[in-house]
C-alpha cells in the first residue's frame, strides 16, 4: 500500500482567473521594462533582458516564491528611467505601470473567479490613489513656480502637520467612576 507521491498535488491545472491575472501582471511588468528601453544606449541595453527575465521569473518558476524578484524587476525599470530620463508623461506612465505590477504580483495563486474579482476590487482604492498622486505630481512638476520663501515655509509647515497627523496617538486613560 504505497502512498501516492506528493507530486500529484502540484499537477492541478491552473485556474483561468489565475492565468489572466498572471498575464496582466506580465504585460504590466513587460511594459514598465520596455517603456523607457527605446532610449537605452551602449551597455545599458543589458538592463532590458535582465528586467524581462526578472518579470518572467516573478510570475512562474521555482524562484517566484522569492519576493525580492518582483522588487528587483521594478528596480530595473527605475534604473532604466534614471539612465534615459524620458519625458514627464512617460515617467508618469512608468510610475503607474510599476505600481500596477507591484500590486498584481502579490496576487495569491489558485484563486477562484469570484475571489479573484473580490481581491481585485479591494486593490482599486490603492490604484486610484496612485493615479491621483501621479496626476498631482505631474502637474506640480509641469508648472514652473518661481522660488519663494513663503512657499518654502508653507511646504515645511505642511510636512510638519502631516507628521503630527500621522503619528500614532496614545489612547486616553479611562476615568475612575466617582
Amino acid at each position: 500500500m504505497n502512498a501516492p507521491s506528493r507530486g500529484a498535488l502540484s499537477a492541478r491545472p491552473p485556474r483561468l482567473a489565475d492565468v489572466i491575472i498572471r498575464a496582466v501582471t506580465g504585460c504590466l511588468g513587460a511594459g514598465m521594462v520596455l517603456l523607457p528601453a527605446g532610449q537605452l544606449t551602449g551597455r545599458s541595453w543589458a538592463l532590458l533582458p535582465i528586467g524581462l527575465a526578472l518579470v518572467a521569473v516573478s510570475l512562474a518558476g521555482p524562484l517566484a516564491r522569492w519576493r525580492m524578484v518582483g522588487t528587483l524587476a521594478a528596480g530595473t525599470a527605475v534604473i532604466e528611467s534614471a539612465l534615459t530620463r524620458p519625458d514627464l508623461a512617460v515617467l508618469a506612465w512608468e510610475g503607474l505601470l510599476i505600481l500596477g505590477y507591484l500590486l498584481l504580483v502579490d496576487a495569491p495563486r489558485a484563486m477562484p473567479g469570484t475571489v479573484t474579482a473580490h481581491w481585485l476590487w479591494r486593490q482599486l482604492p490603492l490604484a486610484a490613489w496612485g493615479v491621483f498622486t501621479a496626476a498631482i505630481v505631474l502637474v506640480v512638476l509641469a508648472v514652473r513656480v518661481p522660488v519663494s520663501a513663503w512657499l518654502l515655509v508653507a511646504g515645511a509647515g505642511a510636512a510638519v502637520a502631516a507628521v503630527v497627523i500621522a503619528l500614532p496617538r496614545r489612547p486616553g486613560q479611562p476615568r475612575e467612576p466617582s
Binding site: 498535488l9 514627464l88 503607474l96 479591494r122
Partner: protein, 467 residues
C-alpha cells in the same frame, strides 16, 4: 522492562469505541470482506479545536515592496538631482500611505478540525480550517503528513474579506496510527501587516486496513472448546471422520447402509468434532524499516489486524504480544471488541528501545500452551530471534511471517555494492533455512497482496509445536 495489559496492571482500561461492541451472533457468520460493517470504528468526536492562536505580526511583502521602490526612487532623484524621477515612485508611495495599517490582534481565533477522528487506512478525512478574525485576506496552505494524500481541494486556498475565511480539504491517510494528518498554514494579511499561523488538527486514530484472509492456519492440537475448526477427533460436526460399528445410542440417520449391507453388521458414519483455537499474534516492533506508510511495522500490524479479524469472525480467541521497547500483551479473548483492543495496543508500539524482551514474564493466560503463535517480523533484530527460541521452549505452535520484502538498495557506482547485496541475500536465505530446519514455517508477505496467498504453503497442514 515488561508491562502487562492495563487491566492486569490495575490501570483503567481504555473504553472501546461504541461500534466495537460485540454484535449479534448472526453478524459473525459469513465471509464478509474486511473491514466488516460491524467492525467499523466509531466516528468519534471531531478532533478538538485549538484556542485562539497568538499571532506575530510583521510587515506584509507588499509594504516592503512599495516602500523599497519608493525610497529607491527618492534616492535616485536626489543623487541624480532630477526631480522628475519622483513621478516613478509617487504612485507607490501614495498607495503605501493610503493602505490601512490593519487591526493587528494579538491572538486570532483560528482552528482546524479533522473529521472523523477515527477511520481506517484509505478512508476520507475532512480537514476544515477557519479563521474567524476580521482580516483582509487569508491564504491557507495544507502540508500533508507522511503517507497522507490530499484527494480533494487545492493545496492553497484564499479567502478575502467579506467571505467566510475557511478552507476545506479531503485527505486520505495511508498509514495506521494515532497522528496529526496535516499542518495548515494560515497567512493572514490585514492592511499592511501579515501574520502566519500554524494550525494542526487533533490526532486522528487511523486503524489498519485488514487484508483479506481466512482462518486456515491451525495448530495440531485444538482446544476442547466448541468452535468452527474441524478437529482430528470424532465429534458432532459436519465433516466425515470415519466408520465404526454400531453401538447402542447411535442415531439411525448415521447408519452407513453400503458398509452395513456389505459386512452384514450395522456400521455408522462418524463426524469430525468442531473445535476452537487460540491465536496469539506477535508483533516484532524492534525493527521498522521502509518508506512511510509501508514500513515493516506497518505491514506487520496490518497483517495482525487481518488475522485477528479472520479468527475473531470464526469465534476463536485472539491475543497479541508486542515485542518492542516495552513488552506488552493482551490475553486471548473472543469478540469484535478484541479487534479494537489489539489495534489500540498496536498504536503505541512505534518507539525505539534497546531493552530485551523476556517472554517468561508473559503470563500463561496471555500465551496459552496450545495456542497458535504467528510472529510478524522482518527478522532483522536478534532479540526477535531469541524470542523465537523462547517460544520453542514453551512448546507452542509457531509460524513466522516475514514482512521484509525489500532488499537494501545497491549503489551501482560502488563495485562491492552488488556483492554486499548478494551476501545479504545469502544471509537471509540461511536464516530462513535454519528456522525451517527447526520446524518453524516461515512465510513471506507483502501488504500489497492478500494474506491468503502467503498462507498457501501451509494449506491443509496443521502446525505442530516445535521443541
Amino acid at each position: 522492562m515488561t508491562e502487562g495489559p492495563p487491566a492486569a496492571r490495575g490501570e483503567p482500561t481504555v473504553p472501546a469505541p461504541a461500534a466495537a461492541a460485540d454484535p449479534a451472533p448472526g453478524a459473525l457468520a459469513g465471509p464478509a470482506p474486511v473491514p466488516a460493517a460491524t467492525q467499523r470504528p466509531a466516528p468519534g468526536p471531531v478532533a478538538a479545536a485549538q484556542p485562539p492562536v497568538p499571532a506575530t505580526w510583521q510587515a506584509a511583502p507588499r509594504l516592503r515592496r512599495l516602500a523599497t521602490i519608493g525610497v529607491a526612487v527618492v534616492l535616485v532623484a536626489i543623487l541624480t538631482r532630477h526631480a522628475d524621477l519622483l513621478l516613478l515612485g509617487a504612485p507607490a508611495l501614495a498607495a503605501l500611505a493610503a493602505a490601512r495599517r490593519g487591526s493587528r490582534h494579538e491572538a486570532l481565533d483560528a482552528a482546524v478540525t479533522a473529521a472523523p477522528a477515527r477511520c481506517f487506512e484509505g478512508e476520507d478525512v475532512e480537514i476544515v480550517a477557519t479563521v474567524a478574525a476580521p482580516v483582509d485576506e487569508v491564504k491557507f496552505r495544507i502540508e500533508p503528513g507522511p503517507a497522507v494524500t490530499v484527494i480533494d481541494g487545492p493545496v492553497t486556498q484564499v479567502a478575502v474579506a467579506g467571505e467566510p475565511a475557511s478552507a476545506r480539504w479531503v485527505v486520505q491517510p495511508h498509514a495506521w496510527g494515532r497522528h496529526h494528518l496535516c499542518t495548515v498554514t494560515a497567512m493572514c494579511t490585514d492592511g499592511m501587516g501579515q501574520a502566519s499561523l500554524t494550525l494542526r488538527p487533533g490526532r486522528v486514530e487511523v486503524f489498519p486496513h485488514p487484508p483479506a484472509v481466512r482462518a486456515s492456519m491451525l495448530p495440531a492440537d485444538l482446544l476442547r472448546r466448541i468452535g468452527e475448526h474441524t478437529a482430528a477427533a470424532p465429534g458432532a460436526g459436519i465433516e466425515f471422520f470415519g466408520i465404526r460399528g454400531y453401538q447402542p445410542g447411535d442415531r439411525l440417520r448415521d447408519l452407513n447402509w453400503a458398509v452395513t449391507s456389505r459386512l452384514g453388521q450395522p456400521h455408522v458414519n462418524q463426524r469430525a468434532a468442531l473445535r476452537a483455537a487460540d491465536l496469539v499474534i506477535m508483533i516484532d516492533a524492534f525493527s521498522d524499516v521502509g518508506p512511510p506508510g509501508d514500513t515493516t511495522l506497518d505491514v506487520a500490524v496490518r497483517g495482525a489486524a487481518g488475522l485477528a479479524t479472520a479468527y475473531l469472525r470464526t469465534g476463536d480467541r485472539v491475543g497479541v504480544v508486542v515485542l518492542g521497547g516495552v513488552l506488552k500483551w493482551l490475553a486471548p479473548a473472543p469478540g469484535n471488541r478484541q479487534f479494537f483492543r489489539i489495534v489500540e495496543m498496536a498504536f503505541g508500539v512505534r518507539f525505539p528501545s534497546e531493552a530485551n524482551p523476556d517472554l517468561d514474564r508473559v503470563p500463561r493466560t496471555a500465551l496459552p500452551p496450545r495456542a497458535l503463535v504467528v510472529l510478524f517480523s522482518p527478522l532483522l533484530d536478534r532479540r526477535a530471534l531469541s524470542a523465537v527460541t523462547d517460544l520453542r521452549q514453551r512448546g507452542v505452535s509457531l509460524v513466522i511471517v516475514d514482512v521484509l520484502t525489500r532488499e537494501p538498495p545497491g549503489e551501482p557506482r560502488l563495485p562491492l555494492s552488488q556483492l554486499a547485496v548478494r551476501l545479504w541475500r545469502l544471509d537471509r536465505g540461511a536464516l530462513r533455512s535454519s528456522l525451517a530446519g527447526l520446524g518453524v514455517p516461515v512465510l513471506s508477505w507483502d501488504s500489497g497482496t492478500g494474506l491468503e496467498g502467503a498462507q498457501a504453503p501451509l494449506r491443509g497442514r496443521r502446525i505442530r509445536a516445535v521443541r
